[in-house]
Symmetry: C2
Subunit: 330 residues, 2 copies
C-alpha cells in the first residue's frame, strides 16, 4: 500500500500538519499485517530526519475513573488558547475487549474538526508492531513530528504493558481525592514516578487539598528512600469547573524548559533504545513462531499435548529445540 | 546441579510434602540460569505423572493496600483448622525494585515452622523461565502437587504481567470498602472477572456493606453485557477481627465442588496451554537475542545507533533481518 514515494509523501504531510496524511500514518501503525512493520520503521526514520521532530510528549497516566479524558480535553483547549498546536493519542485497552461499549465517554471529547492545530486519535488495536505499547510509541513519534505538544493518555495500571516513561518527556500522574491506593502503588514501585502530580476533581474541596498534601508527603518519603527526586509539583485541577488547567499548562511548560532541548532529546533517545530492544525480542519471538508454522499450529500442538496427557511446557520446549538460529554477518 | 535421579528425588519429595525438597524445587524455579528451564520443565513433567497433582489453586488478587497478606494468613490458618494442607505463594513485584524494604509487611505473615501441612514462600525474582508469571505458574504447579489448597497472592494490577486466571482454579478478587476504582477496573476489563469477591476490612461497618452491594450491582451489569456469569458470591471479611474467614473457606470449597475434578482439570489444562504458548514465544525471542551476541551486545548496538543519529528501531529491524530460522522436522 504505502511504499517509497508514498511514505515520503506521508512524512512530509505529517511534518506540515496535514491531518489526512497524519491519519494515514496512524492507520499504518494500527494495521496488523506484518509487512507494515518495515514501513512504520521507515516512516519514523523519514520523520526523524525532518526538522520538526521534537514536539513535547506529555504522558498522562493514572487509575481509571479519575477523569483523565475530561482533563486531557480541557488541557488541549487551554494549550490551543495559548497558541500551541496539540496532538492527542488516547490509549484504550478496554475497548480491545469490550469494543468500547463500557467506556463510552472516551468518544465524548468534543473538539472542533476545522481546527488545524488539534488532532485527536484513540488507539485500541495492537497494530503492526505487535503490542499496544509499540503502537503508542510509534503514534507519539508521529504526532511529535507534527505538533508542539503531544498528550498521551493511558491507563497507568493493568494489562497495557505501557512504560509511560518511555513514550513521554513529561510524565503526569492523575489521581482523585482519597487515593490511598495510589500512594501504595507509588510506594510499591508498581506505578512509575511521575514528573508532575495532578489531583483532579478538586471541586471536592477539602478532600482534594488533603489528597494533595498526602501526595507531597509520599513524594518526600520516596525521596528519602532514593526513588524520584521528590521535587514534583502537585497541582489541583477540576476539569469540570475548569480549575487549575492554566496552572497545569504552565507546569508542563516549566518542565519542558527545565529539561531543555538536550534533556528532551536524551529522554527520547533513552525511550527509543528501550522500545527497540523490547521490539526486537518480540519480533524474533513472533518470527520463530511463524517458522514453526504459525501461532495456530503451535497452539494446536500444545492443545493436542493436553489431550495426550502431556505437559504443554515440555512440548513447547521440544518445539523451541526444533528451531535453529543462524546469523549473517552485519 | 539437579539432574535425572536428583529431579526424581525432588519430585517424590514434593509429592510426599517434604518441605526441604519443596524448597529445592522452588529454588530451581527461582534460579535465573537458562539451563534450569529444562530441569524445571522436566520436574513439572515428573510431578504431572504423580498421583497428587491436583491441589486446588486459589488466586487472590486485588489492588495494593486492601490487606491481602493478612487475609491470606488468616485464611491459611482457617484452612489448616479444617484439616486441609496449605501451600502459599506470594508474588511480590515491588521487592524486585525496592528489595522489599518498602512493603515489609509481606514478611509479617506468622506461621508455625513445625507445621508440616503449611508451606509459605514469597517469589520475587524473575526466575529461570523468564518472567515472574512463569515462575508463579511453576511454583503453583509444584505446591499443587504437595498440598490440598494452594493460595497464590498477587498484586492484581501493575507490571506483574500475571494472568491470575491462568494460575488459578478459583480467582478471588479482594477489595476494600469504598473501592470505586475497582468497579472501574472490572468494567474496563483491566481486571479479570473473579469467581469470588471479597470485601476485606469489613470492620469498617456500613461502608463495607455498601461496597458489597456496589460490587453486586457491578457484577449484574457485567452479566448484562455478557462478561462473567454475574453469579459470583460477595463475602465480607475482616482479617484483623477474624470475621468472615470461615465463610470464605466455605465459599472456596463450594466453588471447587461446583467445578468438580473435571472442571479443575479443564482450567488447569487451559492455563497450561496459555502458559506454554507465551513461554515458547519468549524463549524463542531470548534465544534469538543470544544468537545476536546477547542482550548487552544488542543494547550496545542500539545505543550506538542513537549516538550516530539513527533510529534504534531501524537498527533493531536490521538486526532481526540478520537472523534466519531453520526448523528440524519433529
Amino acid at each position: 500500500m504505502a511504499q517509497g514515494n508514498d511514505l515520503e509523501r506521508i512524512a512530509s504531510g505529517v511534518r506540515s500538519g496535514d491531518k489526512a496524511q497524519i491519519s494515514r500514518a496512524l492507520n499504518l501503525i494500527e494495521d496488523k499485517r506484518r509487512e507494515r512493520e518495515r514501513e512504520v520503521a521507515e516512516l519514523l526514520g523519514l520523520l526523524e530526519r525532518g526538522e520538526r521532530a521534537l514536539g513535547h510528549r506529555v504522558g498522562l497516566t493514572g487509575p481509571p475513573g479519575v477523569g483523565k479524558s475530561s482533563l486531557v480535553a480541557a488541557l488541549a483547549r487551554e494549550l490551543r488558547a495559548r497558541g500551541k498546536t496539540v496532538g492527542v493519542v488516547a490509549v484504550d485497552p478496554s475497548s480491545m475487549r469490550s469494543g468500547g461499549a463500557l467506556l463510552g465517554d472516551r468518544a465524548r471529547m468534543a473538539f472542533d474538526p476545522s481546527d488545524k492545530g488539534l488532532f485527536v486519535r484513540s488507539l485500541a488495536t495492537q497494530g503492526a508492531l505487535g503490542g499496544l505499547a509499540h503502537a503508542t510509541h510509534a503514534a507519539a513519534e508521529v504526532l511529535a513530528a507534527a505538533y508542539d505538544i503531544v498528550l498521551v493518555e493511558t491507563v497507568g495500571v493493568g494489562q497495557t504493558e505501557i512504560a509511560v516513561t518511555h513514550v513521554s518527556d513529561t510524565v503526569v500522574l492523575v489521581v482523585q481525592p482519597g487515593s490511598g491506593d495510589v500512594l501504595q502503588f507509588l510506594k510499591a514501585g508498581v506505578m512509575e514516578i511521575p514528573d508532575l502530580l495532578v489531583v483532579n476533581k478538586a471541586d471536592h474541596g477539602p478532600t482534594a487539598t488533603r489528597a494533595a498534601s498526602d501526595l507531597k508527603a509520599a513524594l518526600s518519603t520516596l525521596r528519602q528512600v532514593g526513588a524520584g527526586d521528590g521535587e514534583q509539583d502537585v497541582i489541583l485541577t477540576s476539569a469540570r469547573d475548569q480549575l487549575g488547567i492554566d496552572k497545569l499548562a504552565e507546569a508542563l511548560e516549566k518542565h519542558a524548559r527545565s529539561l531543555g532541548r538536550a534533556g528532551i532529546l536524551a529522554r527520547r533517545q533513552g525511550g527509543r533504545v528501550e522500545w527497540a530492544s523490547d521490539w526486537l525480542e518480540r519480533s524474533v519471538g513472533s518470527l520463530g513462531v511463524e517458522a514453526l508454522g504459525g501461532a495456530d499450529t503451535v497452539r494446536g500442538e500444545l492443545e493436542r499435548a493436553v489431550v495426550r496427557g502431556e505437559l504443554p511446557l515440555s512440548v513447547a520446549q521440544r518445539l523451541v529445540d526444533r528451531i535453529s538460529f543462524a546469523t549473517r554477518a552485519p
